[in-house]
Amino acid sequence: MSEADADLRGWMERYQQADPVAPGVLIAALSPGLLRFFRVLDAGARQAEDLLQDTWLRIHKARHSYRATEPVLPWVYAIARRVRIDHYRRNRRTMAHEVAVGDVPEPGGRAGWASGVTNFETLVGILPENEREVITLLKAGDLSLEEVARATGSTVGAVKQKAHRAYRRLRKVLENQVPAGVSPGGRES
């Protein structure tokens, strides 16, 4: 258990005991990751902020279900994931329209490469939903494989498999982005 995890556990316990400082500390510590999680998966900034608020209200209602012996992040992201699913169900029709006319990331785009910055959100946008979720939790949520498995109600093996498939797809996209004349080194076929 890292120091950050131990801190979060401590604050969660204080939150359960109604320490007035604890909600502020937890909101400040966890919200940026949660917001990024929603932004990567759902794109719209306004929608991500709505989802963040819903998540915190749900966390508040469910705070008794956190056990101090368990890690905090899978508990938080399991709730966040569910908020996202419920939100999607409620707005299914609107969402379908938004996806059809919204920004679709270009897998073969060279802008990111040319500027020397690989945009995580853009690249991950090409992945199928379940792989994108796993990669986003690993990267934006800073969760371990075990924690992702807990948050998604899956097994570590299944998470590893999804991550592996996602790496393959991302590699292909990156290979397409390499400017002509630069060859990837030492790849076995």
């Binding site: 890292s2 316990e13 359960q16 005991q17 109604a18 007035p20 909600p23 909101i27 400040a28 919200s31 940026p32 990751g33 917001l35 990024r36 902020e49 963040l52 608020q53 915190w56 209200l57 508040h60 209602k61 008794h64 279900s65 956190y66 056990r67 368990e70 890690p71 899978p74 508990w75 992201y77 399991a78 709730i79 569910r82 490469w113 690989t118 995580f120 690249l123 990669i135 690993l138 990267k139 800073d142 371990s144 075990e146 498995a149 807990r150 109600g153 991550a163 592996h164 790496y167 991302l170 590699r171 990156l174 290979e175 982005q177 390499v178 990837p184 080194g185 030492g186 790849r187 076995e188």
Partner: protein, 265 residues
Amino acid sequence: MNCQEVERLIRGQARPTRFRLPDPAVAHLSQCPVCRGLAELLTRRDAAPPAPMEILRNLEQQIAQDLHAVKPMRPAAYYAAGFTAWFVAFAAAGGWMLKPLAVGVMSPWLCATIWAALGISAGLVIMSLVGQMTPGCRGRVNPVRLPFAILLILPAFFSTMLPHRAEADFWRLGWICLICGLTVFVPAAVAYGLLLRQGALLSPRLAGATLGLLGGLTGTTVLEIHCPLQTALHVVTWHLGVPLITTAGCLMMAILIGRGGAHAS
């Protein structure tokens, strides 16, 4: 190191964002732009953009208005024991009140096999329910696949174990068994529901279906202790019809309640 080895190295990390690549891998990255891109993408721990302060302050205020101490949930084993105790109590009480006539018509081995199958199924359903009570808990039984698996495997198992005989009064006697099983389901579901509401259910639909399945299995167990008509067709149709009806019924009820709540809000 080559591309595959670097990829394997990154892939093998339990938490890629807290992983520092060894020197041979770093040397490879300096030559290979694709691996460099992939490694930067997956292992670099970039700070998430800050959330708008106004939203955070608003959230803090909302939570502060309703901040009171809560008692943390007890360990999962406590709830598992609670569900198991209720299941055993209802099965035993139901079998005793209706008289254990099935014991007289089945061999001890057949009794043990059928009760064991029902007990194992109930145990898996209890594990699923307990898992659903706590978000992000470890080793949860898949709550979506489990009802399907049980409602498919049990009929197949019972039809291979029990004799296939034609019976008179199939509909009338079957109807009696169905009503009997559903009557046991009602108090059992209330007892299970009281335990279940102590948790934080993320998906009321799934929890409803699982609760219905456990209540239905309680009814089936009582029928397997009481009913002297132990033929494959009767048991599969009427005794196992109880969990099928209760699972579907509880799922429908959870959906309707959820929709009602969404409309109200």
